[in-house]
C-alpha cells in the first residue's frame, strides 16, 4: 500500500471509529423495551359452539358461529400471511356488490392465526352475511366473501 493510501485509510477509520459507535449506540438506546403487536386482540373471545356457515379462500377460512341464546360470532382463520398493507374486516347484510349497504367494522386481521369478532345484534336474523376485507392504507377493497348456511 502506498503512503498516500495508508493516510487515507487512517483518516477514514479514525472518522469511523467515532461515527460508527455513535450511530450504533444511538440506535441501540432507541430500541423499544417491548415490541407491541396490536394486530391480535389481547384476549380472544372463546369460540361459540354451533357452526352456522363456513366459507374459504386460499388464505382465509371464515366461520359463522352461534350459541343457544342467539349470540353470533365471526371467526376468521388466517392460514397464509396476508399480502396487503392492512386488512380491515367489515360485516354487512347486503348482497355482494351492493356498495350502498351499511357496513359495520368488526376489526382487523394481522399475522397468521385465529381471529374472532363480535357481530351486531341484528345479524342474528340475517340468513346471509357479507364479509368485506378492505385495505385501509391503500384505500381499496381486498375481497368480499358471502357467508350463508
Amino acid at each position: 500500500m502506498i503512503s498516500q493510501l495508508r493516510k487515507r485509510h487512517v483518516a477514514v477509520w479514525t472518522t469511523l471509529a467515532i461515527a460508527l459507535p455513535v450511530g450504533f449506540l444511538t440506535a441501540y438506546q432507541r430500541i423499544p423495551a417491548t415490541v407491541s403487536d396490536q394486530s391480535l386482540p389481547d384476549s380472544q373471545p372463546s369460540a361459540l359452539p354451533e357452526v352456522v356457515a363456513m366459507a374459504e379462500t386460499p388464505a382465509l377460512q371464515l366461520v359463522r358461529r352461534a350459541n343457544a341464546s342467539d349470540g353470533q360470532q365471526l371467526e376468521v382463520i388466517v392460514r397464509q400471511p396476508l399480502t396487503t398493507a392492512s386488512a380491515l374486516v367489515y360485516w354487512s347484510d347486503g348482497p355482494i356488490g351492493n356498495e350502498a349497504a351499511g357496513k359495520t367494522l368488526l376489526g382487523r386481521l394481522g399475522p397468521r392465526g385465529t381471529y374472532r369478532f363480535a357481530v351486531p345484534d341484528a345479524s342474528a336474523d340475517e340468513p346471509a352475511w357479507t364479509i368485506s376485507l378492505y385495505d385501509g392504507i391503500k384505500s381499496r377493497p381486498i375481497d368480499t366473501i358471502l357467508l350463508k348456511p
Partner: protein, 350 residues
C-alpha cells in the same frame, strides 16, 4: 499474473481458497437452517433465505474488512489476502439475494413499483431511529455491485489502480450503511441480545484492527532518515536485511524496497503496479521480486516484469558504505536498469 484477460485465472491456491470459503458457507447455511427450525418453527422459506443470506453477507463483510489490517500487522495473514476478491464477489451475491428477496417479499404486492416502494413506504427521512433502513441497504447493494462488477483485472488496468482503489474504498461507506441498516432495522425488533452483541464486537474489532495497522505504518512513514551530503539516505545494516527479502523505507512519502539476493542489492519502488501491493513484503522467487498480494513479478535489477509481461516499477541507486546500505531516493523512470550493488566486492573494500 496473466498476459490475456480470463474470467478467473485458476490455480491450486485459488481453488483451495474458494473451497475453504464454500465449506465455511455450507456449514453456516446448515447451522442457520437447523437453528431456525429449532428456534422459530413458524418460519417461511422466503424469510429463511432473506435472513440467512443477509447474515452470511454481514459475516463475510467483517472477514473481508479484517483481512487487510491483519495482513499489514502480521505477514501470516497475507495468505487470506491473495484471493480476497472472490470473497468480495461472493459477499455481493449473498447481499443481492437478501436484497432481491426482501424487495419481492415486502414491496411487490402493491400497486407501487417495488423499487419506488423501497423509498416511499417509509418516509421518515428526518428521523434517525425511524429512518428508512431499507434505503441504506439498497445503496449499499449498488456500491457492492459496482465493486463486484469492476473487480476483474481488466477494470483495474483500464480504470488505473488509483481510481480503482478509490472506487473500492467505497466498501467503508457500505460498512457504515450496513451497520445502520441492521441497527435501525432488525435490531429494533429483536429482543435477544446476541445479534446486537455480535455486531458490536465485530464493529469494535474492525475499528481496532484498522487503527492499529494504520498507526503502525504511519509511524514508519514519518520516521526521519539519516541523509548524506550527496542525497543518499541510510537504509539499514547489510546484516539486517534477510536473504531474498527486502528492507522497506519511506522517504518523502515514497516507499522504497531494498532487496538482498545472490550477494547483491537492488532497490525498486515498493508499490506493485497491479493493486499497489507492498513489493517489499514479498520475496525473490525464481530471480524475481514477487508481490505478496497476487504474485505479480519484477526483476530486481530493472524493475521490469519478465517477458511477455509489461509491468514496470521505478528503480533506485544504492551504495554500500562499509556494512551500511544507502539509497538515493530520486527514482529512475519505471523499468530503468541499474547495476546491482555487489555485497562481496564492497565487503572486501572495508
Amino acid at each position: 499474473m496473466s498476459v490475456n484477460y480470463q474470467p478467473v485465472l485458476w490455480n491450486v491456491q485459488k481453488k483451495r481458497y474458494d473451497g475453504a470459503m464454500l465449506v465455511f458457507m455450507g456449514l453456516y447455511v446448515l447451522l442457520f437452517s437447523v437453528l431456525t427450525v429449532l428456534v422459530n418453527p413458524d418460519f417461511t422459506a422466503e424469510t429463511l433465505i432473506i435472513r440467512m443470506a443477509g447474515s452470511l453477507a454481514l459475516v463475510l463483510l467483517h472477514i473481508i474488512l479484517a483481512i487487510g489490517p491483519l495482513a499489514r500487522l502480521n505477514r501470516r495473514f497475507l495468505l487470506l489476502l491473495y484471493n480476497r476478491r472472490h470473497l468480495g464477489v461472493t459477499m455481493f451475491v449473498l447481499a443481492a439475494i437478501h436484497g432481491v428477496f426482501a424487495i419481492v417479499q415486502f414491496h411487490s404486492n402493491s400497486d407501487t413499483n417495488p423499487l419506488v416502494s423501497v423509498f416511499t413506504s417509509n418516509v421518515h427521512y428526518d428521523s434517525f431511529v425511524r429512518f428508512p433502513f431499507q434505503v441504506l441497504g439498497f445503496f449499499s447493494l449498488i456500491i457492492l455491485f459496482l465493486m463486484a462488477a469492476s473487480s476483474h483485472d481488466f477494470w483495474l488496468h483500464n480504470l488505473r489502480p488509483k481510481v480503482w482503489k478509490t472506487l473500492h474504498m467505497g466498501v467503508y461507506a457500505v460498512y457504515t450503511m450496513i451497520v445502520l441498516h441492521v441497527m435501525l432495522g432488525v435490531i429494533q425488533l429483536e429482543s435477544s441480545p446476541w445479534l446486537v452483541s455480535l455486531l458490536g464486537v465485530g464493529m469494535v474489532t474492525l475499528i481496532a484492527l484498522h487503527l492499529a495497522a494504520g498507526w503502525k505504518e504511519v509511524g514508519t512513514d514519518v520516521r526521519k532518515r539519516r541523509a548524506s551530503a550527496d542525497g543518499y539516505v541510510f537504509v539499514a545494516e547489510i546484516d539486517d536485511i534477510r536473504n531474498n527479502r527486502a528492507k522497506v523505507i519511506t522517504v518523502d512519502g515514497e516507499s522504497i524496497a531494498v532487496f538482498k539476493y545472490d550477494n547483491k542489492l537492488s532497490a525498486v519502488s515498493n508499490v506493485c503496479k497491479h493493486q499497489n501491493g507492498p513489493l517489499g513484503e514479498g520475496k525473490i522467487i525464481d530471480g524475481c521480486i514477487t508481490c505478496p498480494w497476487h504474485g505479480y513479478q519484477y526483476r530486481p535489477e530493472d524493475g521490469c516484469s519478465p517477458p511477455p509481461f509489461k509491468e514496470k516499477v521505478a528503480t533506485y541507486d544504492l551504495k554500500l558504505v562499509g556494512r551500511q546500505v544507502w539509497v538515493n531516493p530520486a527514482p529512475y523512470p519505471d523499468g530503468t536498469a541499474r547495476l546491482p550493488v555487489s555485497i562481496t566486492e564492497k565487503a572486501a573494500t572495508r
